[in-house]
Symmetry: C2
């Protein structure tokens, strides 16, 4: 069974790939608005784990509207949620049996409700799987430590390929560099460099 | 890491055991009120999958109150939920690093909210994991078919060890056999007989 996993190169989506690999032919898929080359970090991380990789185009209009929302809100949550939903719809249209993402139980954003999940499945004739949604942060961190070689650090320094990088770039271009700092609080990101021995 | 999984011998908790086996030392644990020997079905299913098994005593008062609730409601949902929460609290007190159950995304009962999960974890110093909660019914059925040799049939004929058997027995004893049929609608159960080749 073919499965497209929304993939950033970070620890959560890498653990999701590892869990699903037992049952599905997992393809790591990174959405890009074409604003940066950050998706290449995800491609490299997928290669280090031995998974096939695909870059898919996301709709630039969605990025523009998400950036507007984020700047108006003063925080990224609603904009990130909108982009995540768009990315799921995009990979649901691929020729696959199932799609997945790396959302954890304790994630505040993005979240996919049971109703959204069933709608995605029914409209696209696929399964939607969030293999980490039954795991809390502590359990995920333990499984990641046991499985991967992980680099951790502030968002700006860890080369990851979530939507955040492109949205930061878009906001910097359209609203100025200082607005980026207003919207995105400092937080750590992770990047996976292959499996432990 | 030691993990106690609430186990019935059915397909969901068997798949949960299989998923968690990669990361944890999984012990299949079946709670029993001591009303029937149905827990032995779970013991046999665990042995067929090669997992260690443990029977734990549940509190008979909880069964009595659950039966009262179910008879008053005319359906089993709230009573089953109460018993599941009691069973999770019971295995959380075992000497383990984590506990788990086989609840699926589409289950209406039992359900464990994010707040309940975090409370369980914080009060007991363990992780609570529901490895199937990111999988819908269709995906679970596919993974089960790919993994196990499953028997399916009406509840009364499939030898499983969920709380339902004991609660049926308790209700039959205290309220009469016809009340059992009022509370429990007919539905199919499954029982796992080892792995596929």
């Amino acid at each position: 069974m073919e499965l497209a996993l929304l993939y950033s190169g970070g620890k959560d989506s890498s653990l999701a790939a590892h869990l699903l690999d037992r049952f599905y032919d997992v393809r790591c898929v990174t959405g890009s608005f074409g604003l940066t080359d950050d998706w290449e970090h995800a491609e490299r991380a997928a290669a280090e784990l031995g998974f096939p990789f695909e870059r898919v185009d996301l709709d630039r209009d969605v990025a523009e509207r998400a950036a507007e929302t984020m700047v108006a809100d003063g925080y990224p949550r609603n904009g990130i949620q909108r982009v995540h939903e768009h990315a799921l719809e995009t990979i649901a249209a691929l020729d696959v049996d199932a799609i997945a993402d790396g959302t954890r139980r304790d994630d505040r954003v993005p979240t996919v409700s049971r109703a959204q999940a069933q709608s995605l499945e029914d409209r696209n004739g696929i399964d939607y799987i969030s293999p980490l949604s039954g795991f809390g942060r502590h359990a995920v961190d333990q499984l990641v430590d046991a499985t991967f070689d992980v680099q951790q650090g502030p968002s700006e320094e860890v080369p990851k390929a979530d939507y955040e990088d492109e949205l930061r770039t878009l906001i910097a271009d359209e609203y100025g560099e200082e607005t980026v700092g207003d919207v995105f609080p400092d937080h750590d990101q992770t990047y996976v460099h292959g499996r432990n021995d």
